[in-house]
């Protein structure tokens, strides 16, 4: 019954979140259009660009990333490396999301974690931030479905609350795939740190450990960012492909810039621009915005009209506010024995002793991760800059590669209304649309986390018999964009309700991490995916 609409559902954004909603709704036989701002890319093309690029992108080498991304930079969908994001706050929020069919997970690390029950009750238990409108039990079945949709490998027996106890959090089904094997470095480091009561935990992640829906087994290529050469790692292209196979129509190079409501508040259409600047309009019964946590609020703020001068769904003035990240720090240390980090995937071993406890009243939840990217080029550049040549150069490359450990900590941050995405008043992109302007800051809560982790790092260095060689507490961005479209029961201080439906417009929903009322210290994609699957279930009852 689709005579007066272009589609039953229009999804904006073809990343993992948009893909999950589109594929579920298309599989139920409904007509779905997905608008995607960026172009299509192929794994081969990105891999070749990476290999032939003089500056290789690495998470440990953020400064150089501007020159190093193998993903397209187009006037209508500019790269977020460089100066696309306008920064106005005391802390830079330099995140690097992608605009291509499949979205940002093309280059994500693929850590896929659940939050734990206490994370949903931050206000009640610890007097901080906000509670979710529902608890872990409600999301659990969707976490399980998300793990099977994305193909997650993990260790069922582990206590992911970090206390070294019984398996936690409770799960209704085992991980779809067993965990990845540990490298020597992980085993040896874990052995030494366990003497200090630090409980090693294996990161659950999107790398296949058995053939999984066309994905081969992870082969330790160590380039999860920027691209897995063999497609062992989950990325959003898998899900959007599924949606297309189920009949969804994916329109690439289509930049949504306005959501249109009628006088009753019903959303009737979305307007988009093509790279040539031409304007187009499509209608549908339902709309889901899945453009990640910066472009989503941007689109809502752009959608002004006489009736909605502050943008669509913004009667609370909360659109764009409560932007969060897992703003972090890192510490480098030099061991006195050969450990060889860098073997296998780019990350796997984490410590979660600081994940949960009454201390969260004063100190944020934290996750410590051993970075495991191949360090050769950073180490060699540094040695050459120091004038180390001859056989000493080879020796030092080997010694430092074998012994240098880099620990990256992620902290929970709180929803603060002043941390926000707004529209730049001075800068536009190639289509003339204002770029996002970001104000971001941290509070003493973050500083307390930093001080507490510095104590842990000192203890790590003693247990490992290593010397601390560098401390970076300069608010490292962790690439986990959350908030901006916050969820809550009260329409006066939140944008969407517990079903991810905007309070102001019954047929408009937001998918993914922008709705999270609290964010824990864990990578957010699995939580966003669980919310998106739950959203699709709700939609299917109505469409």
């Amino acid at each position: 019954m689709n005579t007066t609409y272009d589609a039953d559902l229009i999804v904006i954004g073809s990343g993992v979140m948009g893909g999950l909603v589109a594929s579920a709704v298309a599989q139920a036989g409904k007509s779905v259009i997905v608008l995607e701002a960026g172009p299509r890319v192929t794994r081969r093309e990105i891999l070749e660009k990476y290999r032939s690029s003089p500056v290789k992108l690495a998470l440990t080498n953020m400064k150089l990333q501007g020159a190093g991304s193998p993903y397209p930079n187009l006037p209508y969908a500019p790269t977020t490396y460089g100066d696309y994001l306008e920064q106005t706050g005391p802390v830079r929020y330099n995140t690097n999301y992608l605009r291509v069919v499949g979205g940002t997970t093309w280059h994500f690390g693929s850590a896929l974690w659940r939050m734990i029950p206490n994370d949903f009750k931050l206000k009640t238990l610890y007097g901080r931030g906000r509670d979710w409108p529902f608890g872990y039990e409600e999301l659990e079945p969707y976490y399980t479905r998300a793990e099977y949709e994305l193909g997650v490998s993990g260790v069922d027996e582990e206590d992911q609350s970090g206390q070294g106890g019984a398996p936690f959090p409770p799960r209704s089904k085992p991980y779809p795939m067993k965990g990845l094997p540990w490298s020597y470095a992980f085993k040896r480091v874990a052995e030494r740190l366990s003497k200090g009561g630090y409980n090693p935990v294996s990161e659950s992640n999107g790398r296949a450990t058995q053939p999984w829906e066309g994905r081969p087994v992870c082969a330790g290529n160590n380039t999860c960012n920027p691209v897995c050469p063999i497609g062992a790692k989950y990325d959003g292209s898998r899900t959007i492909d599924k949606a297309e196979r189920a009949g969804a129509r994916v329109m690439e190079n289509a930049v949504a810039y306005k959501i249109e409501a009628d006088d009753t508040g019903k959303i009737v259409a979305v307007h988009f621009k093509r790279p040539d600047g031409s304007d187009h309009r499509l209608t549908a019964r339902y709309f889901v915005v899945a453009a990640y946590a910066i472009e989503t609020p941007k689109l809502f703020l752009l959608s002004t009209s006489d009736k909605y001068p502050n943008g669509i769904a913004n009667s609370s003035d909360m659109v764009g506010r409560n932007l969060m990240d897992h703003t972090g720090m890192s510490v480098t240390m030099m061991a006195k024995e050969d450990l060889w980090p860098g073997q296998g995937p780019t990350e796997l071993l984490v410590y979660l002793n600081g994940r949960d406890g009454p201390f969260r009243k004063d100190i944020p939840s934290s996750k410590i991760k051993l970075r495991n990217t191949v360090p050769t080029s950073q180490i060699t550049s540094a040695l050459i800059a120091q004038g180390v040549f001859g056989s000493k150069l080879d020796e030092e490359i080997r010694r430092r590669s074998a012994r240098e450990l880099n620990w990256a900590t992620d902290f929970e941050t709180l929803p603060l209304p002043e941390n926000r995405v707004s529209l730049s008043k001075t800068k536009v992109d190639g289509l003339g649309l204002p770029v996002p302007s970001i104000y971001y800051s941290v509070t003493d809560y973050w500083n307390a986390g930093r001080d507490s982790i510095l104590t842990d790092m000192k203890r790590f260095s003693e247990l490992l018999d290593a010397d601390i060689t560098n401390i970076d507490v300069n608010h490292q961005n962790r690439q986990h964009v959350m908030g901006g479209m916050i969820m809550g029961d009260n329409p006066k201080d939140s944008v969407v309700d517990a079903d991810c439906r905007t309070h102001d417009h019954r047929n408009l929903f937001v998918a993914g991490t922008p709705v999270m009322p609290s964010v824990s210290c864990m990578n957010p994609t699995l939580t966003g995916a669980a919310l998106s699957i739950r959203l699709a279930d709700k939609l299917l009852k109505e469409i």
């Binding site: 003089p54 050459i384 004038g387 040549f389 080879d394």
Partner: protein, 170 residues
């Protein structure tokens, strides 16, 4: 002490060298194509002194095709490069050192020759010539920096295969 001659051979990637060579040839064509610089191949003779300096400074027999391409890339950015190389070769000859370590220990390099040494070593080790936005890639998997840890750490994107890690590296 670690020496390039007895560098450990790959255990996890027995086919690494063959693959790297094939790959290297493919990249050579690709890169020459992009820079539009066919003279790379014709430059073998002109690159002779550069190759000699490079082999002395890195203590290795080096791939002549790559040498030609590093030479072209370096010369493009520095018109005085030939003169600098011949001056450096003069200093090396004068030092009468048995190898690069003895040379570096016995010779106080002036600013210019030290910069020439850095340029040459940096190119071969990192596989790139030039800085920042001007940087150009000449070799990837062939960059010398990967040699000291070969067999233990991979060249990123050329993995060792499923479960190729876990044992204590030797």
């Amino acid at each position: 002490m670690y020496r390039p001659e007895n560098r450990p051979r790959s255990i996890n990637q027995p086919q690494f060298s063959r693959r790297a060579l094939v790959k290297g040839a493919a990249t050579a064509v690709a890169v020459a194509g992009f820079a539009g610089s066919l003279p790379a191949l014709a430059a073998d003779d002109a690159a002779g002194p550069f190759t000699r300096a490079s082999e002395f400074l890195t203590s290795r027999k080096l791939n002549p095709v790559l040498a030609g391409r590093y030479y072209v890339a370096l010369k493009k950015r520095d018109p005085q490069f030939d003169a600098e190389v011949s001056r450096l070769l003069g200093i090396i000859a004068q030092a009468k050192a048995s190898d690069v370590d003895a040379f570096l220990a016995s010779t106080q390099l002036d600013q210019q020759s030290s910069s020439t040494v850095t340029k040459i070593i940096s190119s071969w080790y990192l596989g790139t010539v030039g800085e920042g936005a001007d940087a150009e890639l000449v070799g990837y998997a062939e960059a010398l920096m990967y040699e000291p840890t070969r067999g233990i750490l991979v060249v990123p994107s050329y993995g060792g295969g499923p479960n190729s890690w876990g044992e204590k590296p030797v």
